[in-house]
Symmetry: C2
Subunit: 352 residues, 2 copies
């Protein structure tokens, strides 16, 4: 029997779960595939976080420091979980680092392997992501905004007109992602504000089906975006992006005005949705956890338990279980830590 | 010094926090103002829960049983916290039950005092909630649906036409509630499905600004509502409800069709939003926790900490901190339990 919690994934959810499980008295091992901790906000160079607009790097560093400062948290970067044997209370977790395998004992496991950005080339070639240099995805825009260098890639000049297209890879039966990715409305609106701040002469448009600015995102982001930053929201569907006279041309329908539209743009940002990361798919398979039809990990009891999986001793948090914003991830990571440690207390006994 | 966690509020968040804090080894006292545990889903007679469509009563009983079955959880119903003295690790909590005061020691406090439904009479008299018996609020519809008796109140007959009006008391500067209440789109859609199931001959309309069916609500509720249950979604604003020939008449604008509308209805359900409960306002004052401009309790660090308040040793979860769905509440309750117990471990030491 082992009192150790193995946390798979060193992004925001994994770091928060690790810190809390450690503060609840357990030894914790964080296994991270990448070279560095921090997960998607760091590896994809996010600028400011939604909501709050604080630096993603600064906040990620707080999370990293929170976990790594605990004496009972060990981190293995450049490492992958390749096999799990045994059962709850006494798992044998095989970790592969630089081609060498090692096995550690674990009493409980928290899967925090997160999401990947939808690939906007897949079945959505009408948006020309791999064809036109000035068509970006959200994460490309994040990197440029973080570098304070939001330009039209093909010219290197500040864009005059920027469009965001919502629901790329979400709410889409043809692609198979019927779910809403939850965060893209907020992230696009946050980026729109940042573009207006960095390129004050730009005009920024967001083409949407429904603006899902739930809870405080409404008053903290959506209203200021419109009132203070003059972001233009257009309820409309963009069906096609063309290149014309060295500029992008977006075609579609303004559904409020009830008329077709054809508007020149310098930069178009595709608000790509969330899909389960490769790691999430791999861990579901290795651990034998059922996934839903989209490949996200299923938890046992819908609303009443957001973190417990059907495999005893295995918990999941954050975007490994489905579209999640940072608040969701931090909350469910806390719940996963609590449930993993409570499970260990009943299975293994109170730690010494 | 005390190792006890006092949880204020016996709804879903309080019950989940209590159970987990107990499973993490602390003695827990739940203080509930009402006669019974279960919070709003029980006291307001909710039918099925959003999402999942399971019986609110059955799921609430699971939560109640989860907390009350722990030997280290004590419950005081019909009781209110009227004063808190001392400081983190050694709070003195005064509890008033049936006119008699009692003081208990607590090391940490979790505030789980939730929300109240927006009063649709306040500044929205154009909807005639107190004037027309056939104008309901979401919670009125819940009660009727739970009793499997969804009728037109003035006639007692099954309604032919039912309308839901979204964003009543939310996204509204005039009322002062600029935030989005997050759950009303999902709850209205769930109720619309239930109405269609209980009154198969009815036609059901939902008038909305944006349908905020985030995450899995999109594929689990929104698509089935339209495709299987033939609920009609109309992007439009209802400005007025009148009574005409013994029936309701709703007036407004269909913003997609770009034309005014005037439609007779038998029943109109106002999708009222969330406001902080009286208990949430009282506890913020008694504990000296800052609230935001809407009266919800503020946590310390935006996305990075959804439960820690600025008062050491005091945590909050669920809708006490702002609009929250049941998943949010269960996750943040887990996080609050983890952080309260971690705090006690560092302040008071490991429980014996």
């Amino acid at each position: 029997m082992s009192s150790r919690v193995v946390v798979i994934g060193g992004g925001p959810g994994g770091l928060e779960a690790a810190r809390l499980a450690a503060d609840l008295g357990q030894p914790v091992l964080v296994v991270e595939k990448r070279e560095s901790l921090g997960g998607m906000p760091i590896s994809a160079n996010y600028a400011a976080l939604t909501h709050g607009m604080q630096s993603a790097e600064e906040l990620s560093n707080l999370l990293i420091q929170g976990a790594t400062s605990r004496p009972n948290v060990e981190v293995r970067a450049n490492s992958e979980v390749t096999a799990v044997d045994g059962a709850a209370g006494a798992f044998s977790v095989t970790i592969s680092s630089n081609g060498a395998d090692d096995t550690v004992e674990a009493g409980a496991i928290v899967v925090a392997t997160g999401f990947q950005h939808f690939d906007p080339g897949r079945e959505t070639q009408q948006y020309g992501y791999y064809e036109f240099p000035d068509v970006l995805a959200l994460q490309d825009a994040e990197r440029m905004l973080k570098e304070n260098n939001f330009v039209t890639p093909s010219t290197g000049k500040p864009p005059e007109r920027v469009a965001f297209i919502q629901c790329v890879g979400s709410r889409d039966r043809q692609i198979g992602n019927e779910y809403c990715s939850k965060v893209c409305c907020g992230i696009s609106s946050k980026q729109a504000i940042e573009v207006r701040q960095q390129v004050p002469d730009s005009r920024v448009f967001i083409f949407y089906i429904d603006m899902r600015m739930y809870g405080y995102w409404e008053n903290e982001i959506y209203w200021p975006a419109q009132e203070q930053h003059r972001v233009n929201y257009v309820k409309g569907i963009v069906t096609e992006i063309l290149s014309k006279n060295g500029r992008l041309l977006i075609r579609g329908e303004d559904t409020t005005m009830g008329r077709p539209m054809e508007i020149p743009m310098d930069v178009v940002v595709l608000a790509v949705g969330m899909e389960p990361s490769q790691g999430t798919r791999q861990m579901a398979e290795i651990l034998g956890i059922p996934s839903n039809q989209y490949g996200f990990i299923e938890t046992v009891h819908d609303s009443l338990d957001t973190v417990t999986t059907t495999v005893p001793g295995v918990f999941a948090c954050g975007a490994a279980t489905g579209p999640a914003d940072l608040d969701d991830t931090i909350s469910s990571a806390g719940a996963a830590a609590a449930k993993a440690v409570a499970f260990l207390r009943s299975a293994v006994g109170t730690p010494a």
